[in-house]
Amino acid sequence: MAAIFSKRNVVIGLIVLAALFPYVARNDYYLHVLTLAFIWMIAVYGLNLLAGFTGYLSLAHAGFFAIGAYALGLLTVKAEMGFWPAFLLAPVITTGIGFLVGIIALRTKEHFFAIYTLCVGYIIYLVIDKWEGLTGGVRGLIGIPAPADIGPISLSTPIAQYYFVLTILLLVILVIYRIIHSLTGKTFIAIRNSEDLALSLGISTIKNKLLSFVLSTFFAGVAGALYASFIRFIGPDIGNLNITFDLLVYMIVGGIGTLSGPIVGTLLIVWLSQNLQFLQDYRMLIFGPLLTLIVIFSPRGIVGFIAGWFTNWKLRRKVNINQAQEQAEEV
């Protein structure tokens, strides 16, 4: 039983499932929603690295997402750069701005950091909204190109885009996995645990926090660039606080500080909100309480809940086995 569900097999199974999905579903709508969910996931992974593993909750994440999107949009539409150079440059630009923000923002802690970044996010949004000369203001940017073909591979069909985004998502997960399970990740966790302690262990907290922050903006930038090339229209709304809230919800529902949380949370919530569409105007009437209930009854997110249940199950099994053995011995 357990062997079939070993971590490795589950991972491989999921990847195969994701790869086969377009052929099973054969539905543009599902493909579209799932592709978009993958893009959100990438952003959520960035948020999770910072909030879940380093202990700093940034509320500017949608802002950086928007910077990534606008960087790609402006480079391709206004600077008429080719898609691929722009796609590489967009996350770099985001990261650069993230670096500048991080240097200052990371001087603050806890709620101050959360609210500081909230304000940074809002300022990014307002700047995009008001700087018409550059961003087109409320009109947004129209005509962003789809990913350019790579040699013979065309990336303009929905299926091709799906695979393109999936590939990047898998890369992101791999990178995150490696970071978390390496010394770098352990350093982040040490900082989350106690900054004073980390400092006196010789860890440069400033450097590492900045690294984590910059990485998180990098992933936000990647996600933003993918979004821009997928939807091919962007407006200031994608930098809005609501998007940050969405990402936050995906992360919390999935399980903050866990590796699979972003996937689980994003899929669940996206699925839910699509399915509550029949309620139309009033879907938030259901969705809001549902969200609250999830948080109340599964505070460590779905993944934390399952993990807890699983450990309990293992414990109980152990007890059962022991009892069984005892009984056997008695017999």
Partner: protein, 287 residues
Amino acid sequence: MDVLFQQLFNGLTVGSVYSLVALGLTLVYGILHIPNFAHGALYMVGAYITYTMMTSLGLHYVFAIVVSIISVGLISVLMERIVFHPLRDSTPIQHKVAAIGVLLFLEALAHYIWGADYQQMVTPYGQVIEVFGLTLTMQRILIVVTAIVAMILLYLFLKKTYTGASIIAMAQNREGAHLMGINTNKVAMLTFFIAGVLAALGASLTSPINLVFPSMGHLVILKAFVIIIIGGMGSIPGAILGGYILGFSESIGATYISSDYSDIIAFVLLIIILTIKPQGIFAKGEA
């Protein structure tokens, strides 16, 4: 010169409302240690209830406000009981998400009950008064005076009564307060009640000079967060002062800098303050 005075008065009006909302937020922050994102929704509901009392039941503006602040106070208490009380031992991030859930719900509910349209609240105090070249309306004077009276009362309550002090005590150490014989449940409910009252009062006072609509709480709440940071999280005088600082800097900023960017002022102000003093201006202790 006239413009300056007129704008100072405008800033005073807006600042009064900001302060009221921020006060509730900062009180709840003190107990919960989290920013209650749903506070803006209480603000909005407060305006709607006053509006409904006036239009459907034909109550006088003042009585409508009384009904509204009590109802919103109770809704706020209910929110504490149903959502935040069960979450009392969990992390701040969970509070935030739960509060977002409540916010979405209340907005959808308002949308459901009152529709998405703008509603108009008519004040009996619409008279225009000219004093020393300043244009005031009775409503605006009412806002400023009521807000200041409410704040003084609150301050006296917190500082001079044991019940008030128990709120502050609980904010600092919940179990400690419990061990002193303070019924922490009651205090939490009381705090939420006061916060709800202040939000509803602020909303009911401003609605006649603006309109009532489901998303009316959005920016107010964001600014209230800025205020409580500027004023020091959980600090009562800080919230009051912060509200007025923001009110004035917006009206003055819109006049002498740029009105297109007047909304940014609050946020830039905060960024500057936190950049210089990462713990906020009124933060105590620490090197």
